[in-house]
C-alpha cells in the first residue's frame, strides 16, 4: 500500500516537473527572453537571499534561546567551568563573524544584481584590504590559541594531588568495568592473558595489591577531591565520556590513558540545580565499538566525603566475592589475603577481620605496582 502511494506520488511529481520544464521553455520562447541575459527570475533570486537570511536569523535566535533549556547543566567539574566559558566566548566571536560575513554576502548579492546598462567595477585587487583581513583573523586566532593552550595544558598536565582517588575504567564490548584500589590505595597489576569470565580485569593474583581491589557496579566519587581515571580497553577502542564533567578520553587496548578532574557538585546538588529529582551523572562511550556502542551507560555518583567513605568501607573486595581465585595466589602470598579464607584453601591462620587496614602490604610492593602502571 505504502509502495503504491509512493509510486503514484513519484509519477505525479515527475509529471509536474515535466510541465514546469515545458511551460517555461514555451513562455520564454514567446517572450523572446532567450536572447536576454536575465529574466524576472534574476530579481526573484536576488531578493530571496536577504529574505531567507532574515528568516534564518529569526529562527536562529529564537531557537538558540529555546534550545539552551535542553543543554547539559552547568559544568559539574572545575576545569569544565573554564571549558564552557571558553566555548561560549568563542561561539559568540565566530557567530559574529558568521553573521557579518553573511550580511555582506547576501546584501551584495541583492544589491549588485544584474541591471541592464550597469557595468561592474573592475577591481582585481587591493593589497591594503587584503592585508587587513589577513591580519585581523590572525590576531583573533592567536588570542584564541593562547587561551586554548592555557586550558588544554591545565587539563592535560594536572598536578596530581596526594589525596586523589584513583579509579581504573575499562571498556569492553559492551559495558564499562571499574576497579578501585581498595584500602591499600594501590590498584593491582593485570595481564590481559589472565582475563576470564569472572576475572574481567585480568587481575594478577601474584600481586598482593589486587587482593583488596573492588569492582563496583557504579562509580562513586567524593566531591572536591581530585579523581584520576586510569583508562584502558580490553577488546576494541572505546572512549570515556562524562558529559556533565566535560571529560573525554579514549580507551585503547594496549595503551593505558588517563584523565584527571575534580567534581564540583554532588549528585544531590546537581538534582537541585537541574530541578530533576532523579538526576544521575552518566558515563557514555564515544568511540564506535560495535553493535552495543549506544548502550554502554554507567552511573556515576558524586557524594560528600563522609558518604563516600561510608560507601567505600562497605565494598567487598573482588577476591572476597570470588573466593575460588584464592587458589591462584602463590602459597607464599596467601597470608596477605585480607579476609578469612575458606578452610580448604589455606591452612594458615587468617589474621584479618574486614575492618582492618591491609595487614602487611609493604611499601616496596606498592611502589612496584605504581611503576608498573
Amino acid at each position: 500500500m505504502t509502495g503504491l502511494i509512493l509510486g503514484v506520488s513519484a509519477v505525479l511529481i515527475l509529471i509536474i516537473l515535466f510541465l514546469i520544464f515545458r511551460v517555461q521553455s514555451l513562455v520564454s520562447v514567446l517572450k523572446g527572453t532567450y536572447n536576454k541575459r536575465v529574466s524576472l527570475s534574476n530579481k526573484v533570486n536576488a531578493i530571496l537571499f536577504p529574505i531567507s537570511f532574515t528568516m534564518g536569523m529569526i529562527l536562529l535566535f529564537w531557537y538558540s534561546d529555546k534550545a539552551s533549556e535542553f543543554y547539559l547543566p552547568e559544568s559539574a567539574s572545575f576545569h569544565g567551568v573554564h571549558t564552557d566559558s571558553l566555548f561560549w566566548i568563542t561561539t559568540y566571536i565566530v557567530t559574529a563573524a558568521f553573521i557579518i560575513t553573511h550580511i555582506l554576502l547576501f546584501w551584495f548579492a541583492y544589491k549588485y544584481q544584474y541591471k541592464e546598462g550597469n557595468q561592474a567595477t573592475f577591481f582585481p585587487d587591493n593589497h591594503k584590504l587584503e592585508l587587513v583581513w589577513t591580519v585581523i583573523p590572525a590576531i583573533l586566532l592567536t588570542i584564541l590559541v593562547v587561551f586554548g593552550y592555557k586550558n588544554w595544558s591545565a587539563i592535560t598536565n594536572p598536578v596530581l594531588q596526594k589525596d586523589r582517588v584513583e579509579i581504573e575504567v575499562m571498556g569492553k564490548q559492551f559495558a564499562w568495568q571499574v576497579r578501585y584500589a581498595g584500602k591499600d590505595g594501590v590498584i593491582g597489576k593485570y595481564n590481559y592473558k589472565l582475563i576470564d569470565n569472572s576475572n574481567e580485569f585480568g587481575m594478577d593474583m601474584a600481586d598482593v595489591n589486587n587482593f583488596d581491589d573492588f569492582t563496583p557496579r557504579e562509580i562513586h566519587i567524593p566531591k572536591g577531591r581530585q579523581i584520576f581515571l586510569k583508562i584502558r580497553a580490553r577488546d576494541v577502542l572505546h572512549s570515556v565520556f562524562l558529559p556533565h564533567f566535560r571529560v573525554k578520553m579514549d580507551a585503547v587496548p594496549g595503551m593505558p590513558t588517563s584523565f584527571a578532574f575534580t567534581p564540583k557538585y554532588t549528585t544531590a546538588e546537581m538534582a537541585a540545580i537541574t530541578g530533576n529529582p532523579t538526576f544521575k551523572y552518566e558515563l557514555a562511550c564515544t568511540e564506535i565499538c560495535g553493535r552495543g556502542h549506544y548502550a554502554m551507560r554507567f552511573i556515576v555518583v558524586v557524594e560528600e566525603e563522609e558518604d563516600y567513605k561510608k560507601w567505600f568501607a562497605e565494598q567487598k573486595s573482588w577476591l572476597e566475592t570470588n573466593p575460588d581465585y584464592v587458589n591462584k595466589i602463590p602459597e607464599n602470598l596467601r597470608q596477605y589475603v585480607p579476609f578469612a579464607i575458606a578452610p580448604k584453601a589455606s591452612a594458615e591462620k587468617s589474621s584479618s577481620d574486614s575492618s582492618a587496614v591491609t595487614p602487611v602490604s609493604t611499601d616496596s610492593l606498592k611502589k612496584e605496582a605504581m611503576a608498573s602502571y
Binding site: 527570475s41 576494541v236 558529559p243
Partner: protein, 614 residues
C-alpha cells in the same frame, strides 16, 4: 610544443588501418563510450558514476535518519529492500552502523573525490589549459576503470550476508581488524580494503595525469599566472592526492596484514570473544596517525576543486574579475601545505602527548587564515558586480555560505581544550557536513550546471535549477544547523538510539524535524536528477559561450570532438578574468583575444605586452 602533436598521436593509437591523414575517423561504440581515452568521455563516466553513488549514499542517510528521527516507527515496510536487517520492524543496530559507515565512505570517496574531482579535473583541464587531451589518455582510461572495479567491489559488499564494513568510515582497528568484534569486520571489511586499495590506484593514476597535463600541455601563452583558478585548484588537489593517498594505502596494507597474516601492527593485549589474542606491542593509535595523514588532506581533496569551480563561476557571473587572484592562489597553496600538518586535530583525545596536541592546535588555527582570506575574496568579488543568477551562480554563493558557517565551527573544534567535550558528538557531524559535505556538494552541482552545456551541448532547465537550489540551500541548513544544538548537548555520534541515556533523552522533536528536513532535501535532489537526464536529450540547445565567459573551453565547438579544437589550438594572451574591463566593448574579453586587438581597454603594463605580441 608537445601540445601540437598530441592530437595526431592519440588518433593513431586507435588506428587499425593506415589512414593517418584521416583525422576524425569514426570510433566504434566501445572505444567511444566505454573504453574511451577521451578526457571528456571519461569525465562523463565519472560524473554518471558519481551521481549513481550519490543516490545510494543519500538513500542510506534517509534510512538512518528514519531511525534517528522516529525511533519507535515500524520499519517493516523496508523489509523487501533490507531483508534480514529489519527484525521485528526495527533496524538492526549493527546494520545502522553499516549504513553510517557506507554513507560516509561513499560520500567522501566515491561521490566527492571520484565524482567531483574525477569529473571536473578530467573535463576541464585539457579544455581550459588548451590541450587536445590528457598527457596519457590510456592511464586516464585506466584510472576510470580502476575506479569502476573499486565501485563494483564496494557495491558487492552491500549485499553480502555479514554486511558491509561497519566500523565507521575511518575504520579504526581493532574494531575493523577483528571479525569477532562485529560482523561487518569480516568479509565486508575485506571488500572495503580491497576496494579502497584499487580506488587509491585509480586516484593516483588520475592525479599524476592531471599534474603532468597542467605542467606540460598548456597552450602557447598559458603561463601559470594566466591559469584559471579551477586549474590551480585541480593542480593542488592532485598534488595533495599524490602525496597523501599512498599513506592510506600503507595504512590499509598493514591492516590487511594484521587481519590476515597474524601481524601486530595495530593490535595489542586484546581479549575478545572469550579468548586472549597473541598480539602484543602494536598500536591502534599508529593507524589513526596514518589514516588521518590522508584523512585530513582528503577534506581538502574534496573541497579545493569545489572552491576552484566556485571562483570561476562567481567571477563569470558577477561580471567582475575574481578579487585577489594571486591571493587566491597563495591561500590555496597555504591550505595545501598546511593540510599535511594538522592531521592530529582528529586525535586530541586519543591520549597523545599533550604538547603535541598544542602544536596541532596552533597549526590548525593557522589554516583558518587562508580559508578566511578565500571567503573574503569571494564576498568582495560580488561587491559592485553586475550579478547574473544562473543556477550555477546560486550554488556557488551557497557554497560560500556553507564554507563560512561550517568553517567557523572548525575554529572551535580545532581548539584542543574545547574538542575534549565536542569530539565525536553531533557538533562534529554538523561541522563537517557543512564545510566539507554540503560545500563540496554544492561545488559539484555548480560545476554541473555551469559546464553541462559544454558536456552535452544543451542547457539544463533554469527554473528547475532555481527550485532545486532554494530547496537544497534552505533544506541543508535545516538539516545540519540544528545538529550543533544536539552536539552542544553532548549527543555522541554513531549512536543507534539515545533512549538509554537520561542526558540524551531530550531533543526528540528536533531529531524528528531534522529527519523530515533531510528526507525532503534528499527528495529535492530528484528534481535535479530529472533535469539532468531529461536535458541531456531534450534540453534547449546551447550556444557556444552561453555564460559569456573568458576561458578557453568556450572557444571550442559546442560539442568538442576528439582533440577538442578543430583547427589549431587557440593561443592565450591574457588572464582569464578580464570581465567589465574599463573601455572594453563588451563586459568580457576571452583569453585568446590578443592585447593588440583591445588597445581601448589595455592597462598600462599591458600596452608594452601588446607591442611584444607583434
Amino acid at each position: 610544443m608537445a601540445t601540437l602533436d598530441i592530437h595526431a598521436h592519440t588518433a593513431d593509437t586507435h588506428d587499425h588501418h593506415d589512414e593517418h591523414e584521416h583525422e576524425h575517423h569514426e570510433q566504434g561504440f566501445i572505444a567511444k563510450y566505454i573504453f574511451s581515452e577521451d578526457h571528456k568521455t571519461i569525465a562523463k563516466q565519472f560524473l554518471i558514476s558519481g551521481l549513481f553513488w550519490a543516490l545510494i549514499g543519500g538513500s542510506f542517510s534517509a534510512i538512518f535518519r528514519l531511525q534517528l528521527g522516529f525511533p519507535d516507527a515500524n520499519l517493516e515496510w523496508l523489509k523487501p529492500l533490507l531483508g534480514e536487517w529489519i527484525q521485528n520492524g526495527k533496524l538492526d543496530p549493527e546494520f545502522y552502523l553499516a549504513l553510517v559507515t557506507m554513507h560516509g565512505t561513499i560520500m567522501v570517496f566515491f561521490v566527492l573525490t571520484a565524482g567531483l574531482s574525477g569529473t571536473f579535473s578530467n573535463f576541464l583541464i585539457p579544455l581550459q589549459v588548451g590541450a587536445r587531451d590528457m598527457a596519457s589518455g590510456f592511464l586516464n582510461m585506466l584510472s576510470y576503470w580502476f575506479f569502476f572495479i573499486s565501485s563494483v567491489l564496494m557495491f558487492i559488499s552491500l549485499f553480502i550476508e555479514t554486511g558491509p564494513a561497519s566500523g565507521g568510515w575511518v575504520i579504526y582497528p581493532p574494531l575493523s581488524a577483528l571479525p569477532q568484534a562485529m560482523s561487518g569486520s569480516g568479509l565486508g571489511m575485506t571488500l572495503w580494503l580491497s576496494s579502497m586499495a584499487i580506488f587509491i590506484v585509480s586516484s593516483l593514476l588520475g592525479s599524476i595525469n592531471y599534474i603532468t597535463t597542467i605542467i606540460n600541455l598548456r597552450t602557447v601563452g598559458m603561463t601559470f599566472t594566466r591559469l584559471p583558478l579551477t586549474i590551480w585548484a585541480f593542480f593542488l588537489t592532485a598534488i595533495i592526492g599524490v602525496l597523501s593517498f599512498p599513506v592510506l594505502f600503507s595504512a590499509a596494507l598493514l591492516l590487511i596484514f594484521d587481519r590476515s597474516f597474524g601481524t601486530s601492527f595495530y593490535l595489542s593485549e586484546i581479549y575478545i570473544g572469550g579468548q586472549a589474542l597473541h598480539n602484543m606491542g602494536g598500536s591502534p593509535i599508529l593507524f589513526q596517525h596514518l589514516f588521518w595523514f590522508l584523512g585530513h588532506p582528503e577534506v581538502y581533496i574534496v573541497l579545493l576543486p569545489a572552491l576552484g569551480i566556485t571562483s570561476e563561476i562567481i567571477s563569470t557571473n558577477s561580471r567582475k574579475p575574481i578579487f585577489g587572484y594571486k591571493a587566491m592562489i597563495g591561500s590555496m597553496m597555504g591550505i595545501t601545505f598546511l593540510s599535511f600538518i594538522v592531521w592530529a586535530h582528529h586525535m586530541f583525545v586519543t591520549g597523545m602527548n599533550p604538547f603535541l596536541g598544542s602544536v596541532f592546535m596552533l597549526l590548525t588555527l593557522i589554516i583558518a587564515v587562508p580559508s578566511a582570506v578565500k571567503a573574503f575574496n569571494y564576498i568582495t568579488t560580488l561587491w559592485r558586480g553586475n550579478i547574473v543568477f544562473t543556477p550555477a551562480m546560486l550554488f556557488s554563493i551557497g557554497l560560500v555560505s556553507f564554507f563560512i558557517s561550517g568553517g567557523v565551527t572548525g575554529i572551535i573544534l580545532g581548539n584542543a581544550a574545547l574538542d575534549i567535550q565536542l569530539h565525536d558528538t553531533y557538533y562534529v557531524v554538523a561541522h563537517f557536513h557543512l564545510v566539507m559535505g554540503s560545500a563540496s556538494f554544492f561545488g559539484f552541482l555548480a560545476g554541473v550546471y555551469h559546464w553541462f552545456p559544454k558536456m552535452f551541448g544543451r542547457m539544463l532547465d533554469e527554473k528547475l535549477g532555481y527550485i532545486h537550489f532554494w530547496l537544497s540551500f534552505i533544506g541543508i541548513y535545516l538539516v545540519f544547523f540544528p545538529m550543533h544544538y544536539i552536539g552542544i548537548a553532548g549527543f555522541p555520534r554513531r549512536y543507534y538510539s539515545f533512549t538509554s541515556y537520561e542526558a540524551f533523552s531530550t531533543f526528540g522533536d528536533l531529531n524528528m524535524f531534522i529527519s523530515i528536513a533531510a528526507i525532503t532535501t534528499l527528495s529535492a535532489q530528484l528534481i535535479f536528477g530529472f533535469n539532468f537526464f531529461y536535458s541531456i536529450f531534450k534540453g534547449r540547445k546551447s550556444t557556444q559561450n552561453p555564460w559569456s565567459s573568458n576561458t578557453l573551453e568556450w572557444t571550442a565547438p559546442i560539442i568538442p570532438g576528439h582533440g577538442n579544437w578543430e583547427g589549431d589550438i587557440p593561443h592565450v594572451y591574457r588572464w582569464p578574468y578580464d570581465y567589465s574591463k574599463p573601455g572594453a566593448k563588451e563586459d568580457f574579453i576571452m583569453q585568446n583575444v590578443p592585447l593588440s586587438q583591445t588597445p581601448e581597454s589595455n592597462l598600462p603594463f599591458e600596452k608594452d605586452l601588446a607591442l611584444e605580441e607583434k
